[in-house]
């Protein structure tokens, strides 16, 4: 490879980013921040797709990334509409208080 940056560095960065997304998803209580953690995880996966694609000299990984982005856009639109509806009905965005399925 002509690049000075090996594939493993990108993959390690991707692992760290994904773990940060998981940590944010599990730690935070605000539903909007949880949603942003999901975006972080999606980006970590996209980064590893593009890295493998670059290493293997193929554009298939780019296409998968494109489709992941399309799904992320759809998910963001629907998810934020759900968040707005939840806020309108319950008046809170704290996931600890949104427990009507539990009782």
């Amino acid at each position: 490879m002509m690049t000075g940056v090996p594939l493993s560095w990108y993959l390690i960065l991707s692992v760290v980013l994904f773990s940060l997304g998981v940590a944010g998803f599990l730690f935070r209580r605000n539903i909007i921040t949880i949603f942003m953690s999901i975006e972080l995880m999606l980006n970590a996966v996209n980064l590893s797709f593009v890295s493998f694609s670059y290493e293997l000299k193929s554009v298939n990984g780019h296409l998968y990334t494109l489709f992941v982005m399309v799904v992320a856009a759809a998910e963001a639109a629907v998810g934020l509409a759900i968040i707005l509806t939840v806020f309108k009905n319950r008046g809170t965005l704290n996931v600890d208080e949104l427990n009507s399925l539990k009782n």
Binding site: T3, V5, L7, W9, Y10, I12, L13, V15, V16, L17, F18, S19, L20, G21, A23, L26, F27, R28, R29, I32, T33, M36, S37, E39, L40, N43, N46, L47, V50, S51, S53, Y54, E55, L56, K57, S58, V59, N60, H62, L63, T65, L66, F67, M69, V70, V71, A72, A74, A76, A77, V78, L80, A81, L84, F87, T92, L93, N94, V95, D96
Partner: protein, 173 residues
């Protein structure tokens, strides 16, 4: 030079991500997430994915994050910023996050030998007729031939998402 750019973008990505999950205010979180996404876009550019760089900027930062900021503006988060930010099961959450990180890292070290097959597609790529088509042309070639059906399915998915979010946000149909 490339190594230096990698380090600079990696610092952007990780710094933005850490700020995203630790900031108290949702607006600060969203802006940190934008910084992180810019870093990822830079890494795409570093790996010669110019098309995805543009899509990342336009779609993620220009579309999704602006949508996030609008929703943050619409809901009132002032009192949410004052109370405790992390949920009660933080110990379990810490264990789970660490386990996920270690798991992925372990599988990556186990599969390190498999990356040696990277030489095969290089030879296959050299037989192609165009010497060096741009990244956008290469993506369009494959997208509109091999991945035509997923492309159409993606457009249907976007239509469903548009209809679904309108239905959910409307008071009465």
């Amino acid at each position: 030079m490339e190594t230096f750019s990698f380090y600079a973008f990696a610092v952007l990505v990780l710094g933005g991500a850490i700020l995203t999950i630790t900031r108290r205010s949702a607006v600060h979180s969203a802006i940190s997430l934008i910084v992180s996404l810019v870093g990822v876009a830079g890494l795409y550019l570093l790996q010669q994915a110019e098309f995805l760089f543009a899509v990342q900027i336009v779609l993620y930062i220009g579309g999704i994050m602006v949508l996030f900021l609008f929703v943050i503006m619409l809901v009132n988060l002032d009192e949410a910023a004052k109370e405790r930010q992390f949920n009660g099961q933080w110990l379990i959450a810490l264990i789970c996050a660490t386990v996920v990180g270690l798991q992925v890292a372990w599988f990556m070290t186990k599969g390190a030998g498999a990356l040696k097959l990277a030489q095969v597609p290089v030879a296959a790529a050299q037989t192609g007729a165009p010497v060096s088509p741009g990244n956008v042309e290469a993506i369009a070639d494959v997208l509109f031939s091999e991945y035509l059906l997923p492309f159409e399915v993606a457009s249907v998915l976007l239509l469903v998402a548009v209809v679904g979010s309108v239905v959910m946000a409307k008071k009465r149909i």
